[in-house]
Amino acid sequence: MKVTFPHMGTMSIPVKSMLKELGLEVVVPPPITKKTLDLGVKHSPEFACLPLKMNVGNYIEALEQGADTILMGGGVGPCRFGYYGEVQEEILEDLGYDFEMIILEPLQGDWKELFKTIKLLVGNIAITKIKSAWQKGWAKAKAVDQLNRIANQTRSYLINRYRASEVYERGLKLIRQAETIEEVETKVGLIEEEFNNLERDEDFEPLKVGLVGEIYVVLEPFTNLQIEKKLGEKGVLVDKSIYLTDWMEGHLFPSFLKRDQEGKKVKEVAQPYLNHFVGGHGLESVGETVLYSQKGYDGVVQLFPFTCMPEIIAESILPTVSRDLNIPVLSLTMDEHTGEAGYVTRLEAFIDLLERKSRKEKVI
């Protein structure tokens, strides 16, 4: 059995380790390129949301490299993601591929389901083995998130801002290759130090922008056209409201183990505008925007795939939040037609807007 799974930002790093630790042969899909997108778009329903199409592209490229088993997340609604697996399986079958699709349904307070799925994958396996696989994967997930956070915190202050991505990429490579948890931790320390040694302009006061929105588009640089890098290199300090570990926690942890303090707070501050869960990250997009304004951020960018249902609800509410709290919000929808030039123009204009606003507020 050769297992593959879709990309989402740096997710392949922890997931590959985890699966290898379980004794599986893993085929990581080739990095996402224009070709991946084209394949996905060609074979997916026209009005499906972008992540579904990207996944299909990943699968096809991995199946072509010999994968025969696809591991995919499931869901219980109401966002379309929960039904991705079914549709994708149908698409690939109609294309004539021979494969097995295993869908990991979220755990609703129940370990049994997880064991059933693991059994499907690896047969009978010692519980200690599962535990060590999880620990290793989790350590790597935390490590890549940590590096991402440092890169975003550092980039705008650097004399040479391009260096941040170089160091970050090198760090990811080291984490990918690390064999043990200790090695992961040492490598994180090394890279952290390297970041600290980069030459900075200590007096620089960057604009601060928070990223909210649908998780796939926020986490996948190919899809968001490298927004963190783009903003950072223009001297903006970027903070993401969601990280890979958040998603893994939400999808792979049994619900009774979740430490959801942050989630509660987000709900609380969103409440005057939206007091009900609407699927996906719609509620979080509203709540995180409020939090960013409380934390003194200059602006918020909302990213989501074209036709994303939960985010459209958030989009219709955010202008009011923006007016009430005096924090500019830029909503950007991404799909296969998104042109880079128009996207950059919008981002630049948004930065100008924030710059002029903050300059004026300082004068007053």
Partner: protein, 315 residues
Amino acid sequence: MKGYMGVDVGSVSTNIAIINEEQEVIEKLYLRTEGQPIKAIKKGLMEIKDRVDCEISGVGTTGSARQLAGVIIGADTVKNEITAHAVAASTVVPGVQTVLEIGGQDSKIIVLRDGVVVDFGMNTVCAAGTGSFLDQQASRLNISIEEFGGLALQANAPVRIAGRCSVFAESDMIHKQQLGHNVEDIIAGLSEALVKNYLNNVAQGKEILGPIVFQGGVAANEGIKVAFEEELGLEVVVPEYYDVMGAIGSAVLAQEAVNEKGRTDFKGFNTTDFNYHASSFECEGCPNSCEVINIHQGDEVIARWGSKCPKWEAV
């Protein structure tokens, strides 16, 4: 006398404006880009050079070819067209709260409060809210685009033309023609359709308050201006230099930039003597197949862009 020059190189037109220290326009130029931005920039510079006798103390570029223009001219500021248009509008009409801009290929709305941009929108992939929509339909009706606006005003009963998309609008228009509606009513209908598309797509959810400035090439069209006024119930101002506002904004930004840094990087009008050309190649480093563009001055590559990774960033 000191002057500041703004150069706006878009896909349809290349505009140049020169302003004096008091930010008044002393010269302007509008020419077609015709898919050859380098040629258009050189031609524009040569033409405008003979028309003014002032020292150029700063230069700004904007528009979709702003980077290219910036490299060739030696710009002090390279700014996106949204900011440039906003700056121009608030220079020409102080206190402006809404800018409607419709150009050939794209259109935007800019919302300002107390002189600061607080929100903006741009058309997405569709051309239904842009000038090219009118161009297409005008040529289909065999009417020059200049006559278009005047004819719309002569309509008695504008016909209703459906279509978020210019392709649908076209088929609907043909249908209305077959039914025997007169040309004036159809043109007025098209103007209303453009305004509706613009308001539903580009300006959706934006707070539109007066004073409103309407600029960009399409602002020449009286019919569209009136359609906007009727739809919004507010007066709409078309500034004198409505067609080169991006360039004016860019010139104002250049003035700001030069005041800050104390010198200009302008290469001089003689820059047109150099031989510039662009070449491109498809990078084969990965399946992204980025189209990388080289800008040459003589034999030397002076700028390069288009790649997704840093591989080609250094010149």
